[in-house]
């Protein structure tokens, strides 16, 4: 039976972790490799790096981070943030990333989803979609959620699926940071129309939320950041809890 995946997300700026583990005595808490390794040894099923560097040159440092991570971490690694071209994708995959997550670039030019999945295979193309409810419409936002688009979320999801996305990272901006749980309604609608796996993101505060995300939201994977970084509970705790509720996880 296929297991539900638990994925911690680390924000990396200029090659250093700016939102990551805050509770373990890491030798260098700013080192993305050390943080990724810690999570990988403590039950993470995949690792996600979100590059929030402001400039292009600084993003180059991400390539080295990925190379170093590939030497120490032997679970899948997804890298997102600021990816704008096929060349970007190529250099990240070549450095050792298994998947890349594209967001604003896909909104600007949806063809990049098709081109990249044709070229590299769908399995390594994750499309990240940030959604906020405005006047009862779920609207897609770009540029880290700062720019509203006119794209209706569910239509957009179907479109990028048709273009060849291998997986969707769906973030509810309404729930992100609230600790109120995933937006189950959004998640459930998305899971129903998508034939590709859905990673739920945004809003986890309690263990119950992970369960709801799978059971009610039908998510295939669950992504969280602060609850893990601040050790409110560990990935192992979450997995034991899900397992006790008959959800299949890798223990």
């Amino acid at each position: 039976m296929l297991k539900v995946r638990i994925i911690p997300c680390l924000d990396v700026k200029d090659g250093r972790v700016v939102k990551g583990i805050n509770f373990v005595d890491l030798v260098d808490a700013g080192d993305p490799v050390e943080q990724a390794k810690h999570y990988s040894e403590n039950g993470a099923d995949e690792i996600c790096f979100l590059d929030i560097s402001a400039s292009l040159e600084k993003r180059e440092t991400m390539i080295n981070v990925v190379k170093e991570t590939a030497k120490e971490v032997f679970i899948p690694l997804t890298v997102g943030g600021g990816i704008s071209s096929i060349d970007n994708i190529k250099s990240l995959l070549k450095a050792g990333a298994d998947k890349v997550s594209i967001n604003s670039a896909a909104i600007k030019n949806p063809e990049i989803v098709k081109q990249s999945s044709d070229y590299f295979g769908s399995q390594c193309i994750v499309v990240a979609v940030d959604v906020k409810k405005i006047n009862n419409n779920w609207l897609v936002h770009s540029h880290g959620g700062t720019i509203k688009t006119n794209l209706e979320a569910l239509e957009w999801l179907e479109k990028i699926q048709d273009l060849g996305a291998g997986e969707i990272l769906l973030t509810s901006m309404d729930r992100d940071g609230t600790k109120l749980g995933f937006d189950l309604e959004l998640l459930n609608h998305a899971s129903k129309i998508l034939k590709i796996p859905v990673i739920a993101s945004g809003g986890v505060g309690k263990m119950q939320h992970f369960y709801d995300g799978v059971k009610k939201g039908k998510a295939n994977a669950l992504l969280a950041a602060s609850v893990f970084h601040f050790n409110e509970f560990s990935i192992k705790d979450v997995k034991k809890y899900l397992n006790s509720k008959n959800i299949s996880v890798r223990l």
Partner: protein, 210 residues
């Protein structure tokens, strides 16, 4: 004796991770090994272990092999004549089959009898992506695993083996499909051991002792 491991470079996917995982295994288990990424037939000839990775579509991988001069002859000699240990990973495993129905009908290497077929959808998400249980079908010493383990999979096609004896382990996703296949010195794994944490590294170690 030093083991010389070559990861075959024919333009497919994330082979750096494969190399790193073999390096990690040799460090952790104190195996004296050199791990190269190469498409040079001399390197292949001098190897003790060959690894054929593979990502993407069957046809583009097969074409990648064909377009690398001398490579098919070199790996054939290594695996089929000298009978040295050979491991195909993911599409690298699928290439061992006679043919694949992915986007048409395309010939494979034909080293292990069987065909590559699409996984039946049955309302399941495709690709089959994530960690899934791999159960050994036998306890023979030639197996790469001795008990049930979780491995990381990403694929939409599977190896339908013609002979039961070539199946070392199976996994369930809609149907039960072969996740480890073997014929003598030739092994294939549908999952990614290089992405399967300590279980994956253990499997790689097991291959290196062949």
């Amino acid at each position: 004796m030093q083991k010389k491991i070559t990861i075959i470079d024919y333009g497919s996917g994330n082979i750096l991770s494969a190399q790193q995982s073999f390096i990690k295994v040799s460090q952790e288990y104190e195996i004296n090994a050199e791990v190269k990424i190469s498409n040079n037939h001399k390197d292949i000839k001098n190897s003790t272990h060959l690894v054929l990775p593979g990502q993407g579509a069957f046809l583009s991988c097969m074409n990648g092999l064909k377009n690398t001069p001398g490579i098919i002859d070199a790996i054939y000699e290594f695996a089929q004549i000298k009978k040295h240990p050979f491991l195909g990973i993911c599409v690298g495993m699928q290439l061992l089959a006679e043919d694949s129905e992915e986007n048409g009908n395309h010939k494979g290497l034909g080293w292990i009898n069987g065909n590559i077929k699409a996984l039946p959808k049955k309302n399941l998400k495709m690709p089959h992506m994530g960690w899934n249980i791999t159960t050994p079908c036998n306890t023979l010493s030639n197996n790469l695993i001795s008990q049930k383990e979780d491995f990381y999979f990403v694929h939409s096609y599977y190896f339908k083996c013609r002979f039961r004896e070539n199946i070392l382990a199976e996994t369930l996703y809609g149907i039960t499909f072969p996740s480890i296949v073997a014929k003598e010195n030739i092994y294939g794994v549908q999952f990614h051991p290089e992405k399967s944490s300590s279980q994956g590294l253990k499997l790689i170690k097991s291959f290196l002792t062949k």
